[in-house]
Structures are given as C-alpha cells and as structure tokens.
C-alpha cells in the first residue's frame, strides 16, 4: 500500500481540517489567478516589444506609435467612451468563450453568433411595434436566442455526429456572415444605399446612453454585469463546478454522474447567447443599423481575450479592455504618426501566441 501521509495527503479529514482545506483551496485558486494575470501581462509586454521590430522596419519610432495609440484610446473623455464601447462586445463574447473553455469546448464561432444575433435584433428593431423599452428588450432577447441557436447547432452536431466544435463553429461563421449579407442585399437592405446595410433604426429603439453627451451606451454596464455573474456561476454554483469538472477530467465527470451532453449543450448555448447579445448591443448601441461585415474578426478576438483572461470572467474584463483600447487607438495612431492600423493585429496575434506558450510552459513545469 502507498503511504498517503508521505505525499502529504490527509488520510482522514476532521472537521477543523476541512475548513483549513477550504481556505487552502481558496489560496490555490487566488494564486492561480495571480499567476495567470502575470502570464498575460508578460505576454502583452513581450508582444509590444516584438512588434517594435516591424515599426522600426517601416522607419517609425515604436515609442511614438504606442504613445499615440494610448492617446487615441484614452486621450479625452470622448475617446474613453468610444473605447469602452469597443470593449463591450469583447467582454460579452469572451466571457462566453471563457465558460466554454472551462468546459473543455473551443467555441470559435463568435463571429457567426454575433452576426446572427445582430440580424435578429435588427429585424425586431425594424419591425416590432409597442413601447420602446419593450422593443429594445425583445431585440436584445432575440439576439441572445439567435446566437444561442447558432452555437447550439454546432453543439448538436458535436454531440450527435462527433464533429469537432472548432470546425463546425468555424464553418458556421462563414455561413452566418453570408446569411447577413444575403438579407442585406435582399429584403432587409436599405434601398439606394449603395452599400449593404439596413435602414437606420428609429431613435426610440436605440440603446440608451449611459451619460448624456457621451457615446458610451448601457451595453457596457450589461457586459460588466454579465462577466460578474459568469464568475459567480463558474466558481460558486453547482453548474459551474460541473462545467469545470467536464473540462478538467471527462472520466471524473462521468464518474460523478455529470452529463457530458447536457454540459456541452448548456455551455454552448450560454456562449452563443452572450455572443448574440454582443451583436444585438453592437447594432442597437453603436451602428444604429445592421451593416455588412461589422462583426469581422470579433470571434477570433474573443478567443484571444478569453485566453489572455485565463478563461476567468473577471480577468477577461481587463483583457477585453486592452484589446478594445488597441482597436480604439489604432486609427489615431495611423492618422498622427502614419503607422498603419493593421499593426494592432500583429500585437493581438503575438500576445495570443505568447500567452499560449506561457500556459503550455506552466503546465509543463507543474506536471
């Protein structure tokens, strides 16, 4: 028999010990969060450092470029409001992706789910009649349901036919975006606009602004609330524990009687719903209409944000802020110092790769 005391495992748990274990577990959890935050910061700094090389190649100064990027994102209250709007879809979608990650599912279908969510929300905003707040609510709810259905298709194919969700969500992205294009070039398009877009929504069905005079809409607060709720769901509820169990060890989940199918379906519906909500908020709060290609790249960025946020909804918030600020400052950087805005995709791609490597290294060291 293997002596359990030797490896530091208690053979019998007494009452006070149980409490101590709980505290110890909390400590492990906190130190894991700190470690993943450090990993993310190092990855981002490294990415900024490496990205200086192409900036130097193009004959510009990296520090000047980064400074104008920062100024563009946070230089004035207007800029901050604009930037926080940019962060909103990332927080929502990445929170959904993070929950999926925790359950061992890689949902890269954010782009399609956002597109379909926005499509349904726009349809509701254009066609529903009734009191304004009801229409806004119905539009947001429609977005959630549509996004959830779109992700649910991928989950269903995974569960019944065993096709990996990365492939199905990826293919559904293309189909979803094309469905939006088809609608905008068809019955939902604005006549004579010259660009595939829907007519403007009426003012009364738009998402209210948070502070009058600034662009920031209430969607940002919704996103923050969703992230906090997701954190509670993940760490403080039975369902959250089941998700983590599914992601941590499938055999353990089976042994504990946690249904793989139910868990996968539930988490994909949740993730898709959040992405759909992001799409709905984007059209009702930022564009005021459905525009072709507005969701481009969101799905991937959400995966990167979730990853930098170590699949922890609360850590996802700063990661989403970082990516949103990059996006918001990019145009100012291009205008002021002539550094092409594509640069931010280099920063995003590199910080993701570095974060992935750090996660891999960390796992290797501890195994």
């Amino acid at each position: 028999m293997f002596p359990l005391e030797k490896v530091g495992l208690p053979t019998r748990v007494s009452e006070p010990d149980a409490k101590k274990n709980l505290l110890a577990r909390e400590h492990v959890r906190n130190s894991a969060a700190i470690r993943s935050a450090c990993r993310a910061i190092i990855a981002v700094l490294l990415a900024l450092l490496v990205t200086s090389i192409p900036i130097l190649l193009s004959g510009k100064s990296p520090s000047l470029a980064y400074w104008s990027l920062l100024k563009g994102a946070l230089g004035s209250l207007d800029n901050v409001a604009f930037a926080l709007n940019k962060c909103t879809p990332y927080i929502l979608t990445a929170t959904g992706v993070a929950l999926c990650f925790r359950a061992g599912m890689i949902n890269i279908g954010g782009e399609g789910q956002i597109a379909i969510g926005a499509l349904v929300a726009s349809w509701v905003a254009l066609n529903a009649s009734g009191p304004p707040f009801l229409i806004v609510f119905l539009a947001l709810a429609g977005g959630v349901i549509a996004g959830a259905v779109w992700a649910g298709i991928a989950a269903a194919i995974r569960l019944t036919r065993g096709v990996h969700e990365v492939l199905s969500t990826l293919l559904l992205n293309f189909i979803g975006v094309l469905v939006v294009s088809a609608m905008l070039n068809g019955s939902m398009g604005e006549e004579g606009a010259g660009f595939p877009q829907s007519p403007l929504f009426e003012d009364r069905v738009l998402l209210p602004k948070l502070i009058s005079g600034y662009e920031l809409h209430v969607g940002f607060i919704i996103a923050l609330a969703v992230a906090v709720l997701a954190q509670i769901l993940l760490w403080r509820t039975r369902f959250g524990f089941q998700l983590r169990l599914l992601g941590g060890s499938r055999p353990a989940a089976d042994y504990a009687g946690v249904s793989f199918a139910a868990g996968v379906m539930a988490v994909m519906l949740l993730g898709g719903g959040l992405a759909g909500l992001a799409g709905a908020i984007e059209v009702l709060g930022v564009h005021y209409r459905l525009i072709e290609g507005f969701s481009q790249g969101f799905g991937f960025t959400a995966v990167a944000v979730a990853l930098l946020g170590a699949a922890d909804p609360l850590v996802v918030i700063p990661a989403a802020l970082f990516f949103g600020f990059l996006q918001a400052g990019a145009l100012a950087m291009q205008r002021e110092v002539g550094v092409p805005s594509s640069l931010i995709f280099v920063i995003q791609g590199l910080s993701t790769v570095f974060a992935l490597c750090a996660v891999g290294l960390d796992r290797r060291r501890r195994v």
Partner: protein, 307 residues
C-alpha cells in the same frame, strides 16, 4: 452553348481550386504528423504577400515562388516552435497565426512603402496547352489547358499519395500522427518530424497563396485569402486526410466557387450569397454525414513529450 458553359465551368473550377489544393495538401502533411493545421489561412496569406512583393520587385515568377515559400514558412516556424517546444494549444495557436499574418502583411504592404500600398499589377500566368492532349474532344480544353501551377498542384497530390503510402519516410510521418511514442521507440524523433512537417506545410500553403496572386488576382490586397485557408482545412477533412480524397473535395469546392462567379448576371431565383455559402454548407453537411466515421489521426492535437 450548354457544353461550352459546362466545359468552361469545369475548367475554371480546376483553376480556382488550385490554391485550395496546395493549402489543403500542406495542411494534410501537418495533420498527418499530428499538428492541427488551423494556420493554413495565415500561411497562404504570407505566401501571397511574399509572391506579390517579390514578383513586383524582380519581375520574375520564380523569385516570386521562392519568396512565397519562405514567407509561408515564417508563420509555420512560429507554430512549430510554439506547439512542440512550448506545447501551446494547437487550434488557438493556428488562429493566432492567422491574425498575426493578416496584421503583419497589411502593415508591411503600407509600412515598407511610406504608408501607402503600392499599385502592384502582375501579369497572370497564361494557360499552357499540353501538346496533343489538349486537342482531345471535351476533356482536352478542361484538363489540359491550365496554367502551369495547376498541373504542379495536381502532380503534387499524386506524389504526396505515393510518398505517404509507399515510402518509409511517409510511414514515419503518418506514425507520428498516430502514435509518436511508437515513432520514438522505433528510434526516430517525433518532435523533429512534427517540426519539419509544419514547416513543409507552411511552404506548400505559401505556394498556394502565390498561386492565388500569380494565376487569379494579380495583386495583393488585405486579407486576400478570404477564408480559403479554412476552406482548404475543411477540404482536407472531407477528403479524410488522404491526398486524393482531398484533391477531389478541393475540386468540388472549386466548382461551387466557379458556379458563383458564372451565375452573377444570370437572373436566378437564388441569391448569389446562397451559392457563396455552398462550399461551407457542403463541408458542414459532409462532416456531419461522415460523423464518427472520420477517423482523424489518433494523436492529433496532443503534445508529445518524453518522460
């Protein structure tokens, strides 16, 4: 009229499929060695960038192809190191590479030319008739009046089939994707095999991007691969990880795209976007139809490490 239409459709299907074929075959090499090839899109884009810059600068197609190969290998090298040395998640690494390639090519095409992308115009490679064979009735004009790189891509599919099934190196490659431990036990280095496989994948996918520039588009635009890498990835899976099946599914996807181009202008009850959706929908339906019958390489996605 009918036959000309169908003949022209099939001929352009083969031409349009060429970048897909190369991308998918590159991905096949990587996946048979056990590394998910989600980064094909980025590698193709890098190749397209390299080919257009080099051909534009030197006026030589050969230089364009050579630079495309190197350009495709750059992101591949990053993937190879990240997934084998750092054991990063293969799927997400591939996605990150795609974004990186999108950003870097878009940045460089402006940054290297004082902030404004140069007007690159490259003469497209003309179809090359194979003597005698191109005179065959019906199939001649379809199969044997293609640009040179198209012949190359089809030949490569056949060669790859022979390599995988008939050579010991091909066996080692396939074994690395099934059981790297067995490869290690047999005295080979699975990590090295995987790294080389990913690099070769980058080179071939880079060529695929070059084909897109040199045979189809003639210039470089931001994100010009437009999802072709992902389509190649689907083709490779629909083709069940073997070169001939992959070739066939690429041709089907090519036919769908060719159809889409040809029916624009023709008044049809279906929206052209529905036709554009077809390759993706076909891929999804076929994947779901094959279901668990799709036996992917056993060790794919799993990092290999010794003791």
């Amino acid at each position: 009229m009918e036959t000309i239409f169908i003949g022209g459709l099939l001929a352009s299907a083969i031409r349009i499929a060429t970048p897909l074929i190369l991308g998918a075959l590159g991905g096949l090499i990587s996946e048979r060695a056990g590394i998910f090839a989600v980064g094909i899109e980025g590698m193709m884009l890098a190749g397209a960038f390299g080919a257009s810059i080099a051909t534009f600068a030197t006026d030589s197609v050969v230089a364009g192809l050579a630079v495309a190969i190197l350009a495709g290998m750059l992101p591949a090298a990053l993937v190879a190191v990240a997934v084998t040395r750092f054991r990063s998640d293969q799927m997400v690494t591939g996605l990150a590479i795609n974004v990186l390639a999108f950003g870097l090519t878009g940045f460089l095409i402006r940054g290297l030319f004082d902030g404004r992308p140069p007007a690159i115009r490259i003469a497209l490679l003309r179809p090359l008739s194979v003597p005698f064979l191109s005179d065959l009735p019906a199939v001649g004009p379809i199969l044997f009046q293609q640009p040179i790189l198209t012949y190359g891509a089809v030949a490569f599919a056949l060669l790859l089939h022979v390599f995988l099934c008939r050579t010991s190196m091909g066996l080692a490659l396939r074994a690395t994707g099934e059981s790297p431990e067995a490869v290690f036990a047999a005295g080979n280095d699975p990590v090295a095999i995987r790294q080389v496989a990913v690099l070769v994948c980058g080179a071939i996918a880079g060529l695929g991007g070059a084909v897109l520039v040199l045979q189809d588009v003639g210039t470089f635009t931001d994100g010009m691969t437009g999802g072709r890498g992902f389509l190649a990835l689907s083709a490779l899976i629909v083709g069940r990880w073997n070169p001939l099946g992959t070739l066939a599914s690429c041709l089907i996807f090519g036919a769908a795209s060719a159809l889409e181009v040809r029916i624009q202008g023709v008044d049809l009850p279906v929206n052209s976007y529905v036709i554009q959706m077809m390759p993706y929908a076909i891929a999804l339906i076929v994947l779901a139809g094959l279901g668990r019958g799709t036996r992917m390489p056993q060790a794919i996605g799993r990092a290999y490490h010794t003791g």
